[in-house]
């Protein structure tokens, strides 16, 4: 019963977060000094096309249409939310006219999703493993070495690390491609290897920075858990190290990490923006970058709205999984 209330509460929070974010997204550009329609008109004019007043008016009207700038502010707001929530329609891209924004997003999303999912998973599993061992046996050589590596990598600014990787492994030693080019028919072996090939460096760069964080966090957990009474009791039962680690320490150390994972998803997503730009990786981040550079208003609105919804959804899913794993919340 309480679990149902928890789920319902979490869903309400989710909806509020999404609506709040979309509202901010709606108002911020409208509070700015630049009118996107006039900016577009100026751009067209600066390209040297001659238009008489009537033509300018017609263009102004159609632009106002696509930007949803008709009617009062409230009308615009209602139409904006309705369009996103009900039809997920952001109109055509202005820089890649007339391709619909949604189509561009649909093509980019799997890339970002795949990159983040695999790199987060790898970093999380590796980081938990190393953190657990180095917390359990802090004086062993292997855990010192692993922890040393993690601590050295942890503070390196991400873009420096990413640049370093790409200079070393794509420029000096031409092992990995400098820009992404995908070959192969859909679902062929060639396509898969080509995707893995192209994604390797960007994924590595994310794994390396995030890994250190997990190691440090799990190590702290494990060190504290070692002194917990139930772990000492398990030892007094004569249980072996492997059993104590797997049944007593690991589950109790991992559980809080799941919440951290939810908190990290947003940061990771922001990080992927830089990754994709630096590695020319065709995901949502690169699309946002293109939209900003080209002043593609529709594309910007679409990509950012979708990012907000994606991050909020991922966080919510993890939050919903958590109580299934923790009996103290499940059976309350």
């Amino acid at each position: 019963m309480n679990l149902l209330r928890y789920i319902a509460g979490r869903l309400v929070v989710y909806i509020l977060v999404v609506i709040f974010a979309l509202t901010v997204l709606f108002f911020v550009p409208r509070l700015g000094p630049t009118d996107p329609v006039e900016a577009m008109l100026a751009k067209v004019a600066s390209q040297g096309a001659y238009m008489d007043a009537a033509q300018v008016d017609a263009l102004r009207q159609s632009l106002a249409d696509t930007f949803g700038l008709d009617g009062s502010l409230w009308d615009q707001y209602g139409a904006f939310i309705k369009r996103i929530v009900l039809t997920a329609d952001f109109g055509p891209s202005l820089s890649m006219y007339p391709t619909p924004v949604m189509e561009l997003i649909r093509n980019a999303l799997p890339w970002t999703f795949g990159l983040l999912l695999t790199s987060t998973l790898i970093a999380w599993v590796l980081g938990n493993f190393v953190g657990l061992l180095s917390g359990w046996k802090p004086n062993s050589t292997s855990s010192r070495v692993m922890e040393g590596i993690a601590i050295c990598l942890y503070p390196i600014p991400y873009y420096i690390l990413a640049l370093l990787l790409s200079i070393l492994f794509s420029y000096i030693w031409k092992i990995f491609p400098l820009t992404t080019t995908i070959r192969g028919a859909p679902w062929s072996w060639e396509l898969i290897t080509s995707v893995v090939w192209n994604s390797f460096l960007p994924a590595m760069s994310i794994v390396i920075v995030v890994f250190g964080w997990w190691v440090i966090s799990v190590k702290a957990q494990t060190t504290a858990l070692k002194e917990e009474e139930f772990v000492r009791y398990a030892r007094l039962k004569g249980l072996g190290d492997a059993r104590i680690l797997s049944r007593y320490v690991l589950p109790n150390a991992i559980l809080p990490q799941i919440t951290f994972l939810a908190l990290q998803i947003g940061l990771m997503f922001n990080g992927s923006l830089i990754t994709e730009i630096l590695f020319d990786y065709p995901g949502l981040g690169l699309l946002i970058y293109t939209a900003v550079l080209q002043g593609d208003f529709n594309l910007l609105m679409g990509t950012i709205s979708l990012s907000v919804i994606a991050v909020a959804t991922a966080t919510m899913i993890i939050d919903l999984i958590y109580p299934l794993l923790d009996p103290r919340i499940r059976h309350r």
Binding site: E229, K237, G238, P327, H331
Partner: protein, 274 residues
């Protein structure tokens, strides 16, 4: 069973904080030995030294703790120093730690926590039969079968304490060390549990060491009693004798401070009704 010979026990790797000072005692086969004494007198420390638990930074500075475990079931005899007891844990000896609140793993069901660590001899048969035996065993402590499927946070403090007593006793070892096993319980439940522990001890014919600062408890169930004061044993002997004829001032004070009912000491009233 166990011979504690002039041991001095303390804590710390750099310095040494003495907690038990030149203590000698024996734990005989098939008896209930009580240890009483004020808080900080070294009762738990002595228990750890006997169990061979050095994980808290405990160190035996001098003296020896020797164990001789004779298993009538297998006919095997093991003699060892307590520093070599670890392989015998949850086989020849088991432990009920002081303070029950966080001794159980919060993410594991009670049944699994009873089974985890059991010696092979107690695990024989199907897992359903084992579950039934555990359920029957817990029933003796006033715990229903549903407790097996509960997580620790779903149990009250007293239930958890009973579970810990049951876990240690279900091992069916030669020696059970119980460090304040009934402190969190109300008087009625406490008495029930103590009687249950006596019954199990009589059935298993093993040794039980019971630490409690409650002299009433010792009067009810222990065969012999050891009184500790500031890290030393100031008095030991058959429980009835200690009560009838206390030698040390501290013991006299303890007995005198027990509440009186109708001119009789409460322990006599409780003892008579037990």
């Amino acid at each position: 069973m166990i011979t504690v010979d002039n041991v001095t026990v303390g804590y710390g790797t750099a310095g040494f904080i003495k907690a038990v000072d030149q203590v000698s005692l024996t734990i005989n086969d098939n008896e209930i030995l009580g240890i009483a004494g004020e808080s900080g007198s070294g009762k738990s420390t002595l228990m750890r030294a006997v169990y061979g638990d050095f994980s808290t930074g405990l160190r035996i500075q001098s003296g020896t703790v020797t164990g001789r475990f004779e298993d009538a079931r297998t006919g095997k005899v093991i003699e060892a120093q307590s520093s070599q007891f670890a392989p015998l844990w949850w086989d020849q000896l088991s432990y009920i730690p002081q303070g029950s609140m966080s001794v159980l793993n919060p993410l594991m069901k009670i049944e699994a926590q009873v089974v985890d660590g059991l010696p092979a001899r107690e695990k024989q048969g199907s897992s359903r039969a084992l579950r039934q035996r555990i359920a029957d065993f817990l029933a003796g402590f006033g715990l229903e079968e549903t407790v097996l499927d509960a997580y620790p946070h779903q149990l009250s403090g007293g239930m958890r304490q009973r579970v810990l007593v049951a876990i240690a006793a279900f091992v069916n070892p030669r020696l059970i060390l119980a460090d304040e096993p009934t402190t969190a319980l109300d008087v009625v439940v406490q008495k029930k549990i103590l009687l249950m522990m006596v019954e199990i001890q009589r059935r298993q014919r093993n040794s039980l060491v019971l630490v409690s600062h409650d002299l009433g408890v010792h009067y009810q169930i222990t065969d012999r009693l050891v009184i500790m004061y500031q890290g030393r044993i100031v008095e030991q002997g058959p429980t009835a004798e200690v009560f009838a004829n206390p030698q040390h001032d501290y013991t006299k004070n303890l007995i005198a401070s027990l509440p009186r009912l109708h001119g009789k000491r409460a322990v006599e009233v409780v003892g008579a009704s037990a």
